[in-house]
Symmetry: C2
């Protein structure tokens, strides 16, 4: 018996296009006893409130009929929302639908705890595939091994009769720890129940969320007997004879952290642009590390010729900031323009003089520079249709080191979920074979250059210390008191935690941030008005 894993990059809401992708993959898998797609494959994930439109569900139903008709001889398991017709509870189920020769069987997700639209499964049924009993599960239905308090069900325990294969249709988002964690959870599930397990994950970027694929099959002994790549589509068939293998037939190789983050960000940028029909990007190039890193990632994702750098030096810019910025574009082959901002700064200075009178230079004038730059890149973006990439990192976002409507402009934040120290590491990873990002950019002290001689360390601690505190506070949920008890300097901890606490209003207004960590700010909603 042969089974096919279809790890495909779907577009949210593109029911027609996703249907075509499903049909094409199914045609390729003719002869398989089952073709397995990922969770909510038909509508894309996450569909959010598109699910609130009746039409949307109608269109899914129609597409299911068409798939059933066109692939009549190919047994399929696809993911889609289906209506809850029980008259009780939320309006939909998150379902896996088995289609074959006019037969249709629905399997519902149970662990839907955070959903507005999905009612938990009201039944537990088995898919009879030839002589095999298959437990069809969806996403988090499987993840509760051990003591994860937040996930209370493990679907396999619900079956009265023990199934012979477990299938899981997933849309499990990427973070740099996730692949290893996920593999262990799934392996333990396979081992605990002594059943082969087939896991099919979505791949692709959908705004801030990146799905990394990495679908795989575990045999009876918990060995991986088939694995699909990370970050790319693949439709691949395996023979169920492999289930009984006593060795790792096709062990999944998980890349190291920086390679994972790199590949995730490149996929995230590419899909953000191409899925919306955009081709060209624009960004401000300061000569600093963050913009140099983002232009390198964008050039990789979109092609160097499609990424336009804008240098906007001021009277406070050092010489090397211009030469480094030029080098970062030229190393890649990206086009660039230079627009010095002094005329804008002087004009606003003049316009505001009647109101500001002789008040001293302060953060206002720093922000005027950042916002003049924002205005210029947005103007070029508007005129030529290039989409603006934001270049802030997570350390800056955490402490509010950035100007709203200035350097915080942009449609997509590329590195907003990696700390400055991780940005350094990522640059070194990119430069592992040759200089792509100018080494001088990587090695010089970071500066916003909004005042004469300014350096980041004037108002922030050194990044390794700052990032350690931030990681403990944000990723590990340690409060200021707990951090002090851990031995961090009291004054410093209080300062940093207060900065994090005060800048929720800024983070509220920035672009979607490509999520690569276990705790991106987007998933850490905080009150804006609080004490």
């Amino acid at each position: 018996m042969k089974i096919t894993l279809a790890q495909i990059n779907f577009i949210v809401g593109d029911i027609e296009g996703n249907k075509e992708k499903i049909i094409a993959a199914a045609q390729k898998a003719k002869g398989s006893s089952l073709v397995v797609f990922s969770e909510l494959s038909l509508c894309g994930v996450p569909p959010y409130n598109m699910l609130s439109y009746n039409d949307f569900i109608d269109r899914c139903e129609k597409a299911i009929d068409e798939i059933a008709e066109k692939c009549d001889n190919i047994p399929l398991l696809i993911g889609a929302p289906v209506r809850n017709t029980t008259g009780k509870g939320k309006p939909l189920f998150n379902a896996a639908i088995f289609l074959h020769q006019g037969k249709r069987q629905i399997f519902k997700k149970k662990n839907v705890s955070y959903s507005t639209y999905f009612e938990p499964a009201d039944e537990t049924n088995i898919l009879q595939l030839g002589c095999m009993k298959v437990a069809v599960t969806i996403g988090e239905d499987l993840y509760n091994i051990g003591n994860d308090e937040f996930l209370m069900t493990n679907r396999i325990d619900d079956f009265e009769e023990k199934p012979e294969i477990i299938v899981n249709l997933a849309a499990d988002r990427f973070d740099y720890q996730r692949a290893a964690k996920r593999r262990e959870i799934l392996r333990m599930t396979a081992l605990k129940h002594e059943i082969p397990l087939i896991f099919v994950n979505q791949v692709g970027g959908n705004a801030n969320l990146i799905y990394d694929g990495g679908s795989m099959v575990f045999g009876y002994n918990g060995y991986i007997v088939k694995s699909l790549p990370f970050f790319q589509e693949e439709v691949s068939t395996f023979d169920c004879e492999l289930f009984i293998s006593m060795k790792k037939e096709d062990e999944q190789v998980i890349p190291e952290k920086m390679e994972l983050i790199h590949d995730a960000l490149v996929l995230g940028i590419r899909d953000f642009f191409h899925k919306q029909g955009f081709k060209k990007a624009i960004l401000g190039l300061s000569g600093g590390l963050d913009s140099a890193l983002v232009i390198a990632l964008a050039a990789k994702a979109l092609g160097a010729e499609n990424v336009l750098g804008i240098l906007m030096p001021s009277q406070f810019s050092s010489d090397h900031s211009v030469s480094d910025a030029i080098a970062s574009a030229e190393n890649l082959g990206c086009p660039y323009h230079i627009v010095p901002i002094k005329p804008a700064f002087d004009t606003f200075d003049e316009m505001l003089k009647p109101i500001f009178k002789d008040m001293p230079f302060d953060v206002t004038e720093e922000n005027i520079q950042a916002r003049s730059r924002g205005l210029i890149v947005m103007a070029i973006s508007n005129k030529f249709g290039n989409i603006l990439l934001n270049t802030s990192n997570k350390s800056e976002a955490a402490v509010g080191y950035g100007t709203l409507y200035g350097d915080l402009c942009g449609s997509l934040s590329v590195i907003g979920d990696i700390y400055k120290t991780e940005a350094f590491e990522l640059c070194r990873y990119i430069n592992r074979d040759k200089e792509i990002i100018p080494w001088h950019t990587i090695n010089k002290p970071p500066s916003a250059e909004l005042r004469p001689g300014q350096q980041d360390t004037d108002s922030l601690p050194d990044y390794p210390i700052l990032d350690a505190i931030l990681y403990q506070h944000i990723e590990c949920n340690k409060s200021a008191n707990e951090l002090i008890a851990l031995g961090y300097d009291e004054a410093l901890v209080n300062k940093v935690v207060r900065m994090v606490y005060r800048n929720d209003f800024k983070r509220f207004q920035i672009a979607p941030v490509l999520a690569v960590s276990p705790k991106p700010f987007a998933m850490r909603e905080m009150p804006i008005v609080k004490k």
Copy 2:
């Protein structure tokens, strides 16, 4: 027997301050057999991910001990998070805690379906208050009367023994339909079970969310025998003898829609500022209706002297836009400055000429004007510490009629949840006794004045038609096809729905919007990348 309702304005996270407010209210209610506070009164609502910090819960526990000690002789019911020590499920319960003479009893919320932190109640217990059995419920535990699919439990059905009084601690947010709906649901609950019902709601604004108070007591016959005001704090005691009354002793008077929205917005602005320690606001005054409405609301909330208007006419501004803007500030007594933007526009034009060459005037130049204005008000905001109010309305937000980092700047969107036609109505309500908002502003055709002779209707349908389509699409979840079937013009519907669909990226980046409708955009999360 006397019971006290404590309808109080708490601050999220201000455990110390909220504790003091609880103690002060309790002291005032000495002699009562029970003082009832609102849901999560101790920590404020919504606490979001502040709940993820251990310290936060520790501080709540400590505050509960202090309240118990200081109010030992006053029986209290307060709302607070408590730890889930069962070892299973999510880490906290959303609880009501009864405190009296060393006794402590905990009542847990059951209907917590959308929460990340709260485990549903694992028990149903009764508060024995003298000879009375009291069912203590929290928020949505009570709301499931009839066929509301989304709320599946009605806590009262869980009790083995019928209680004699129902108490509900609530944090039920305002929308302009909510007070009437809530009153009917609660009345039906009281009537269905033939039990008196005490409902205590939070009051106050917490960023985008506004809680309207309107606490009330129903007697056996479903008549309201005690009601507290909307939009203000009140601690008030009633005698339980009123339960048997055969008439409306103190019927709740629900104001009309525009009065409700007006009072909600004023409270929302005031609490947004004062709870964060801000005193002064700033906004751009265009001479149009939206900014004239926002300055009137802000002056009411903060005092006219604390609201600074900035007029920023361009070469495309009509004479009346300046005179109307001045009138809107002067009618209220607000200070204002005039900063013409031509110098900035000309400077950017010059700076960008080497790149733009002879390309024609388009949306780029319109946006340069809007963004120059954004830069100027933000500069004055930075220099003097005034917080910028955004003046976009819901119709504009829906179709993306506004410039990111331009007129979409601001820390709080005041009227972003009311449609343009509602903004007209609200202006007329404010002018009901005398001209506060210049009538000329209200009666002239709306224009963004970013091109010579521009009017909103150049690119948008008339607002009454636009708003009707938007209301059906957003509030009533009607798709384009359903709208066309309802008789709306096909081309128009498709155009409008497409505009709504394409502008999620803009709405993603705007400030918190004071929520006054049943469907604010903030509660309608949509994918940004989709098809």
